[in-house]
């Protein structure tokens, strides 16, 4: 994967410094530091319980951190007076369970935020929705309800819904983990397309081959810390026993 960053030396778009997070007695993040530059595609891998999803959720202020600093697109996410609306306009996030709104059709799902938040006129929002659905190959499903779609289609629609808000960073939280193996491909292709277009992305994933192919940086988390970080070559030559074990179990 060539380095698609416009300017790798520029200010990172997402930056975590010594982030700690506890859930009660459970010390989930134990000093995580990570810089992500514009156009970078970062894949976070690791066992379940290693803190990778929590790290991702902290970036969107879905969890508050106990100490450390997080900056995303210039917003200080660690501070309590962070402008959440401005933050959420800059970040798109897609979840494992798609979370489409079941009472709205696919296109209405996509139109809701542009209309409510950006006050976009209805016809313009519909055009936008159709453009986004075209991008994820679901144009013909525009007027259907989520329950009429397969899991893979729902997840693609959820990605289209996020993209419609034109985020600067996309976060993907194990977006293929709830899907049958034959449905993961269609979702991964959509993400791969986005990567090719230069979207900055951070994804928590179990799809090792996908991470190897698409990610510019692979981050291995274990026990609430980053143990190894680098390009795909770290998967061929793991330095720590934990990553060796992890890769053995994944294959």
């Amino acid at each position: 994967m060539p380095d698609v960053r416009a300017n790798p030396d520029a200010e990172p778009i997402v930056s975590l410094k010594e982030v700690h997070k506890r859930f009660g007695d459970n010390h989930v993040l134990r000093g995580v530091s990570l810089d992500v530059g514009r156009g970078e595609v970062v894949a976070i891998i690791g066992k379940s319980g290693s803190g990778k999803s929590t790290a991702l959720r902290c970036m969107d202020y879905l969890e508050t951190i106990d100490s450390g600093a997080i900056t995303v697109c210039g917003h200080r996410v660690d501070q309590h007076d962070v402008d959440l609306k401005a933050l959420r306009l800059d970040i798109g996030i897609v979840f494992q369970s798609y979370n489409l709104f079941p009472h709205l059709t696919v296109e209405e799902n996509i139109m809701l935020a542009p209309r409510s938040v950006k006050k976009m006129p209805k016809s313009e929002a519909r055009q936008l929705a159709h453009r986004m659905l075209g991008q994820v190959g679901l144009l013909e499903k525009a007027s259907q309800y989520p329950e009429q779609l397969s899991g893979g289609q729902q997840q693609r629609a959820a990605i289209a819904r996020s993209l419609a808000m034109e985020p600067k960073v996309m976060l993907f939280d194990e977006v293929t983990s709830a899907l049958d193996p034959q449905l993961t491909g269609e979702v991964l292709r959509v993400i791969e397309d986005l990567a090719a277009k230069g979207m900055t992305m951070i994804m928590v994933t179990h799809e090792m081959n996908f991470a190897r192919r698409v990610a510019s940086t692979i981050v291995f988390m274990n026990d609430g810390k980053i143990w190894e970080q680098g390009d795909a070559s770290i998967l061929n030559n793991p330095q720590t026993e934990a990553l060796q074990d992890f890769l053995r179990n994944e294959l």
């Binding site: 959420r88 979370n99 009472h103």
Partner: protein, 218 residues
């Protein structure tokens, strides 16, 4: 008892039944509007508001509707407010409805998966938008069958208004009975009329519930 005489009684009874329906509709509309406020206060981020509404619900649910009617019909005039039987009945039934439906609707709102709220939040929707455009439309579907079922309780409880002299179905029957002294016949007729109003609602509630569970979201 000649036929036209009997027709007169029947008309009077049916007029009473109409007031039973009218009072139920008033209680449902006023009570329902208050119930929405109660439900939203119960899930408010403000602790004091949550505690205050919880207390209100406990107070109302722990008090017989009859006592609430007495409080309003006899209690308020002693404080210098005059209250008509219709107003007293409407007000007390609305209070009763607001507490029960409020609690039921709170449960409906909270049974919409948390992830829906979180997803709407991540799309930059404001609190009000999340509630009105994402959560409430889903909660309404969940709340409809039990609400229709609860309308049966409202209809039956309007009979309490007879005690303060409001002429609904039961009071109409009492008045007729005072002239013709045929309690079994009259109260049987009243029971049939109540059943005729309540049974279709019970059936509808069941149908809605079955249809809802068929179309349950994945």
């Amino acid at each position: 008892m000649n036929a036209s005489f009997a027709m007169g009684y029947l008309t009077f009874l049916l007029q009473g039944a109409l007031w039973t329906v009218g009072l139920s509709v008033i209680a449902l509309l006023w009570g329902g509007a208050s119930a929405l406020v109660v439900a939203l206060c119960r899930i408010s981020p403000l602790r004091s508001l949550r505690v205050a509404t919880a207390l209100y619900i406990q107070l109302v649910q722990g008090t017989p509707v009859l006592v609430i009617i007495f409080l309003i019909y006899f209690g308020l005039p002693s404080l210098g407010w005059s209250v008509s039987p219709l107003l007293a009945a409407s007000l007390s039934l609305s209070i009763y409805v607001s507490a029960y439906l409020g609690e039921s609707w709170r449960a409906s709102i909270q049974s919409v998966p948390r992830a829906q709220w979180e997803t709407a939040e991540c799309l930059a929707l404001s609190r009000l938008q999340r509630m009105s455009k994402v959560i409430l439309p889903q909660a309404v579907r969940i709340a409809t069958p039990p609400t229709v079922g609860f309308m049966v309780q409202i209809i039956k409880n309007t009979s309490l208004a007879s005690i303060v002299g409001f002429i609904e179905l039961v009071r109409a029957g009492q008045i007729i009975n005072n002239t013709i002294f045929q309690p079994f016949l009259i109260y049987l007729l009243i029971a049939i009329l109540y059943f005729g109003m309540c049974y279709p609602l019970s059936i509808l509630s069941r149908r809605l519930e079955i249809r809802g569970s068929d179309k349950a979201y994945a």
